[in-house]
């Protein structure tokens, strides 16, 4: 019977995903605005740089940024751009703007802006995770610059993990 239990556990473990992309998240935060920055692991970065830094100059022109937005970034809408905003307990569809790409050594960076003005003085929480767990996100307090008080905690989401930032 114990073998059957172990086998069932292994099968259950097989359901959750394994990441092959690793993203370090950093934030600039105030009551009305949030800038989210992603820095990719080197292997994924290499692939993204090959595809989107067409002229290989390490700087992303508006055209290169637009191509990235069309081919990669927009696909992430169904994953809420790995940034899950809740206002007064209600999920809010994210509408990121001001997409900016950069290269930092061998890493590929993405930055976007989220407008929080419509939700001023409301209870807000922002989750950072990829439900499919193909990407593993990491967010530490040292990577957050904020003029508002907040709490940050790791959260268990059944089969994947993430981070929850709550405004105080």
């Amino acid at each position: 019977m114990s073998k059957i239990c172990v086998c069932l556990l292994v099968c259950a473990c097989s359901v959750f995903a394994h990441p092959h992309t690793f993203i370090t998240v950093s934030l600039d935060l105030n009551e009305t605005d949030m800038n989210v920055r992603w820095l990719f692991d080197e292997m994924t970065s290499q692939s993204l740089l090959e595809d989107f830094d067409a002229d290989r100059n390490g700087i992303f022109s508006p055209k290169e940024t637009e191509t990235f937005q069309k081919e990669v970034f927009n696909d992430l809408k169904q994953f809420s751009f790995f940034t899950h905003l809740k206002v007064s307990g209600k999920s809010i569809p994210l509408k990121p703007t001001r997409l900016f790409l950069w290269r930092e050594n061998n890493a590929f960076g993405v930055e976007f802006h989220v407008d929080l003005k419509p939700y001023v003085h409301q209870k807000k929480a922002i989750g950072f995770w990829d439900e499919s767990f193909l990407c593993a996100l990491s967010l530490e307090k040292e990577q957050i610059r904020s003029s508002v008080k907040y709490t940050l905690k790791e959260v268990d989401n059944a089969y994947y993990y993430g981070y929850l930032l709550e405004f105080l």
Binding site: V10, H18, S47, D51
Partner: protein, 249 residues
Amino acid sequence: MMLSTLANTFAQANHSFNTAIAEHFHAIDSGHFQPALLIIVLAFGYGVVHALGPGHGKALVAGYLLANPSKRSHVFQIGFLIALVHTLSALVVTLCAAYLMNVSANRLFRDVNPPLFQLSGGLILLLGCWLVYSVFKERRIASESVAAHTSRFGVVMLAGVVPCPGVITLSFFAITLGHMGIGMVAAFFMSLGMGLSISLAGLLAQSVQASKAIVTQPKWFWAIRFLGALCVVLLGLWFLTHPIPQRAF
């Protein structure tokens, strides 16, 4: 322990291997032989932890082995062949992308993965239905000595045909740095590591099937076989009805 804690541990292990391999690829340029050897060792370890996660055919193998009691040697054969096909499929995508289409492998993977995943799901469903029929037909056989099926090679193809994103990322990274040879060898060793994990999952299923409680109870023996076949059907149905979205990473 929560599953997400386990997921976090796996993710960190994957990240560590990924980062270490990338660093050693840069060190090859220094002209030393040691980084190449380390890449191969790390690639094997990366394969082991990578295949401990979902996919890679473990659930399919477990279901198939519950439905079809197999010899231990066949379990390893299935595990390592799946990993090899999974890797070869990834290498085909990577090489086509890099040398024929002049795009990154991730870009091509984004396009080919969803249809391949669904095709694989449809075929797994067919295999599951055939297993259910086969187990039902053999319901009077009440011992471990069910004849070995050549259908295990079908399982290898179905589980392996979807390219491994981990191998794609690793081999494309090697190509862009001008170390295609080491990249191919590393991909091969990564597949050996994955083969080990898949085989161990298979061995677990096989040991359930061979346990005393099952072997000595004909009804249990048949029930477990039926459960295994049903698992394969459900897995195929799940893949077929839950198409994976198109995304680059």
